[in-house]
């Protein structure tokens, strides 16, 4: 009976064959079983796969995490979130300022302006006259001859379409000032010489010629930018680290810095970082290890862009791309459009960072290995794996079996892990916050007292306790809580429903027969919306609705799919109030979110917050190069926005992380200690010194 035996034996043998493999597999406690090298590898999980491993081209978290290890920028942030040198050893910031000599203007004493007179008067005033205080600031003054410049300007025509116009600029004589440091008020100092309305007297139209004169009307608003009377050109001089080599042994130098800048600005490469580098006027190579970066205007956060990884010029320049095209035997059609974006480099990156790239298996893992040639102390780990695990439950399961080394627990799991001494747990502040934003353009929310009352009605502490399981911190304003821009002395709006009621009553809102607040026949009613898929936001929405209901406010809530939410409501401004969150940067620039000019289609000030004082502070902050003054201004801006409550600022969530308990930080003397997050909340700051022991310490 062969068939019968076959039918019995086949499944039995198959099952046995499969199941016996269980006895060979390692567990969390026995990670080194049959595999002693496990402790030299760090395995990190990720929800998503990387997209493109080129720091100039990627925009997603996964890719930037990898490029952050393979590449290195000129600078980065230290434990205190101050800039520190990496590929640059140090840098100095100076300024060149230009003043256009307007020969049609008059000095305050009535004499007509001439170039030589202007130069002489300023020099004299600085030497021994009214402007002695500038003596220490100004290093050099010279007179520049008139100049002819042709520029391409991109405008938006009446239909909102982009349009390119060629303009010819007849720039008159200019006075060039070399300043020892950046001073946004430099030209204000010159007012005694120039007179108060020197800028207004300039005949800008006469200096600008158009290729198509009918476009003049469109160019008009841009004239002041095209040919500024007062021009600030901040300059950063970077001294580069000598002897640093790319992972293919080629030495890093100033050419690579310039090349990186040019690649980002090359329209063909479609770099998502163009806006970070747009303020740059020129990148000049002074010598092999010195680079001078000249900026078009005052914009202090611009230096942060240099934290981006530096690309190897010799692997990506035109010659290299030409070679690659030949090697890959591409068709003529493909060659025509071939650029850095198409290069194999983006899948096999080579940088100067602490880890070398080894392999990228799509949607599975990215493997890096230690760069023993790293200029600083090389990492302790021999290998770094970045594993793609889209599902959080799967991530946790892998963590529990020792197949990954860190795991980001969900808020409700945090307590459980903190109690479990098989693992080490961390909670540290993040750069994000959640808020309820009111459409400030709607009459209902136009009065700040209404917004304050709405904020007072919401018990934020309760939200943090019950929705975040305590894993959040209250915030009072628009800056991340762990940066130096956040003013901790500002008190949060108290939870005070009675006070809120009183304010609304003072403003004329009275309860009607149905129990709703009413004023001039209008019921206090609005819609609160958020995006689908975020349970916390949905819960906040319900809590807010209920809190306001108690005041007699009729709030309707609705959840939309993300694409619809943005397109039909947020971007088009057709909403009353939203629950949303921001993920912030480290710099104090809030232009995109709060400046009144950033209200409009696809812009980020979608709540339409407009306040001249805030606008002024925002511009001053981004133009200020002195950190202490910046901080003072940021405090002012923070307190202003906190007072105005265009948002109800809710909380910043804590970043939670659980690590394998066997991981420790190595010290220089080869002893080890526990991992402690930096003040800014970075757990991975000393990652290069992490080592996994074969036993559980502490």
């Amino acid at each position: 009976m062969k068939i019968k035996w076959f039918l019995i034996l086949a499944p039995t043998l198959l099952s046995l064959g499969l199941l016996q493999s269980y006895f060979w597999v390692p567990t969390y406690e026995t990670q080194t079983k049959g595999n002693p090298d496990r402790v030299t590898k760090f395995i990190s999980p990720s929800i998503a796969d990387a997209k493109i491993l080129n720091p100039a081209l990627n925009a997603d978290t996964a890719s930037s995490q990898i490029t952050g290890l393979v590449f290195e920028g000129l600078l980065d942030y230290d434990e205190e979130l101050n800039l520190r040198g990496r590929l640059a050893t140090d840098w100095t910031i100076t300024e060149t300022a230009y003043l256009i000599v307007n020969s049609q203007a008059h000095f305050p004493d009535g004499t007509r302006v001439t170039p030589s007179m202007m130069e002489m008067r300023i020099k004299q005033a600085i030497e021994n006259g009214k402007l002695v205080e500038l003596k220490e600031l100004v290093a050099e003054i010279s007179l520049l001859p008139p100049q002819l410049r042709i520029e391409e300007v991109t405008l938006t025509d009446t239909d909102g379409k982009p349009l390119s116009v060629q303009v010819t600029l007849n720039i008159p004589e200019r006075i060039k000032f070399s300043l020892r440091r950046v001073d946004q008020h430099f030209f204000d100092h010159l007012i005694p010489i120039l007179g108060i309305d020197y800028e207004k007297q300039a005949p800008l139209e006469q200096w600008v010629e158009l290729s198509s004169p009918d476009k003049r009307k469109l160019v008009q608003p841009q004239l002041a930018q095209l040919i500024p009377i007062f021009e600030h050109n901040p300059i950063i001089l970077f001294n580069l680290r000598a002897g640093v080599r790319f992972q293919d042994e080629h030495e890093f130098d100033a050419g690579d810095v310039k090349f990186t800048y040019e690649s980002i600005m090359d329209p063909k490469n479609l770099s998502p970082r163009t806006s970070d580098f747009e303020p740059i006027k020129a990148v000049e190579i002074v010598d092999r290890y010195t680079v001078r970066v000249v900026y078009k205007r005052l914009f202090s956060p611009a230096i942060n862009a240099w934290g981006m990884g530096i690309l190897p010029e010799h692997l990506l320049n035109d010659t290299a791309l030409q070679l690659e095209m030949n090697k890959r035997q591409l068709s003529a059609a493909t060659r025509a459009g071939f650029g850095m974006r198409d290069s194999e480099f983006n899948r096999h990156p080579i940088g100067t960072g602490p880890f070398r790239f080894v392999k990228w298996q799509g949607d599975e893992f990215i493997h890096l290995t230690r760069n023993d040639d790293y200029w600083e102390r090389p990492p302790e780990y021999k290998d770094y794996y970045y594993r793609v695990i889209p599902d959080p439950v799967t991530q946790e399961v892998e963590f529990l079996t020792g197949a990954i080394d860190n795991y980001v627990p969900e808020p409700h799991q945090v307590k459980r892990y903190k109690k479990d001494d098989h693992y080490q747990s961390f909670s540290s502040p993040s750069f994000a916050y959640t808020y309820i934003g009111y459409n400030n353009q709607k009459a209902l929310f136009a009065d700040k007292r209404v917004r304050q009352a709405l904020s007072m009605a919401i018990n934020v502490d309760e939200i943090i306790e019950y929705i975040l399981y305590g894993e959040g911190k209250r915030i009072t304003g628009p800056y991340p809580k762990n940066t130096q821009w956040y003013d901790h002395s500002i008190k949060p709006i108290p939870y005070d429903p009675k006070g809120a009621k009183r304010i609304l009553k003072e403003l004329g809102w009275k309860k009607n027969a149905d129990g709703w607040l009413e004023k001039e026949g209008q019921v206090f009613e609005f819609n609160l919306i958020t995006n689908n898929g975020n349970l916390q936001r949905k819960a906040i929405m319900t809590i807010a609705q209920n809190s306001w209901y108690k005041l007699g406010i009729k709030c309707n809530t609705q959840v939309f799919e993300w694409a619809v939410f943005l397109k039909d409501f947020v971007n088009s401004g057709l909403f009353d109030a939203v629950v949303l969150g921001w993920s912030m940067g480290i710099d104090p620039d809030l232009f995109q979110i709060w400046h009144s000019s950033q209200f409009g289609l696809h812009k980020l000030n979608f709540v339409g917050y407009k306040n001249p004082k805030a606008d002024q502070l925002i511009v001053q902050i981004r133009q200020e190069y002195d950190l202490n003054i910046q901080q003072k201004l940021a405090y002012q801006l923070h307190s202003l926005i906190a007072e105005e409550q265009p948002y109800t600022f809710l909380y910043t969530p804590l970043n939670n992380l659980v690590l394998d308990k066997k991981i420790v930080v190595m010290k220089d003397d080869d002893t080890y200690s526990k991992i402690i997050p930096t003040k800014s909340g970075n757990i991975f700051f000393y990652f290069n010194r992490w080592r996994k022991l074969e036993f559980t310490p502490f």
């Binding site: 019995i8 390692p26 949607d363 594993r387 892998e398 529990l400």
Partner: protein, 320 residues
């Protein structure tokens, strides 16, 4: 026979084109944009988005986009939006990953379903029969992903061994025996989970086929000849009961490609199903459409193949 084949192929070809047009329209008309041209990304300038849109032909009329897609697909120039990699090699690589899972699951289904089904048929009405019927319906009714999570948590909690992915991570430098055993272990649970419904359904089929055949005259004749029960069941009855299952082989083909989106996602298995799933999330049109196209082609080929197979094994059927 030949004319049948040609006519059928021709019809299926037309059908394939219609399917691809419908799929293309649905994918393009669905809300949402490829993540590369997402206007809500503050880092992207409107001009850059316009350029990328032009490069992806997203602003062309939909019928032109269809033609571009077809042209690129058949010249092998088709590239993913997400990482600009050629689509076909990418799909092939993922297919090779899905293949062991598919083979293992299929083996489990076919080797386990037959003995259980036959036993249930022979002992009709017994506790074993009722028990297996109950279990089969339970397995069909309980969602696979739910059961998978339960099993994963149970295995991890009780045994503390990894069950996710194609292998345990960080084992590259381990002893080869450990490595290969590890790979087999990782196949066990996902393939078992994706096989469960298959076992349940197939064993039901086998049972009902066997019951039908056992009641036939020729089985009674075999018994009357004095043959022992095993010969009657496994030689005379089983052979005839097998006939309809030949056609099922044809239907295996399409499940090669879309077979286990759920299980590949749960078990982080870098296979085709997950590739398709992620492509849908990021609106990577070339990948979605190509996988869909291949799946449609395989489905049509599969049904065609089962028609042919049936004609081959059952001489009573003629294809005209």
């Amino acid at each position: 026979m030949l004319s049948y084949i040609f006519r059928n192929l021709w019809q299926r070809g037309i059908l394939l084109i219609i399917v691809s047009i419908i799929a293309h329209s649905i994918v393009h008309l669905a809300p949402g944009e490829p993540s590369e041209v997402d206007p809500s990304n503050p880092r992207m300038q409107p001009e850059d988005i316009a350029k990328i849109r032009a490069a992806f032909h997203l602003d062309d009329p939909i019928h032109l986009q269809y033609l571009y897609w077809m042209r690129d697909l058949f010249t092998g120039e088709l590239k993913s939006f997400k990482d600009s990699q050629p689509v076909l090699p990418k799909i092939w690589e993922r297919f090779l990953n899905s293949l062991p899972l598919f083979i293992c699951a299929t083996l489990i289904v076919w080797t386990l379903a037959f003995p259980t089904g036959i036993q249930a048929a022979i002992r009709r009405g017994s506790i074993y029969d009722r028990g297996s019927t109950f279990l089969a319906y339970a397995l069909i009714s309980v969602p696979g992903f739910f059961l998978s999570y339960i099993i994963i948590l149970w295995v991890v909690d009780l045994f503390g061994v990894p069950v996710i992915g194609m292998r345990t991570f960080g084992m590259e430098d381990a002893h080869p025996v450990f490595q290969s055993m590890d790979r087999i272990w990782h196949l066990v649970i996902p393939s078992l989970m994706s096989a469960l419904t298959g076992i349940a359904v197939l064993s039901r089929y086998v049972r009902s086929q066997m019951l039908e055949v056992i009641g036939q005259d020729y089985v009674r004749t075999a018994r009357a000849k004095g043959l022992d029960e095993d010969t009657v069941i496994y030689h005379h009855a089983l052979r005839n009961a097998l006939l309809p299952f030949v056609t099922l082989f044809g239907f295996l083909l399409p499940s090669l490609i879309g077979g286990s989106v759920i299980f590949e996602t749960i078990f982080a298995w870098p296979g085709l199903g997950r590739l398709g799933y992620e492509a849908i999330l990021s609106r990577d049109f070339p990948i979605i459409l190509t996988i869909n196209f291949i799946a449609a082609a395989l489905t049509l080929a599969g049904t065609f193949l089962s028609d042919l197979l049936y004609a081959v094994v059952d001489p009573r059927i003629r294809l005209e």
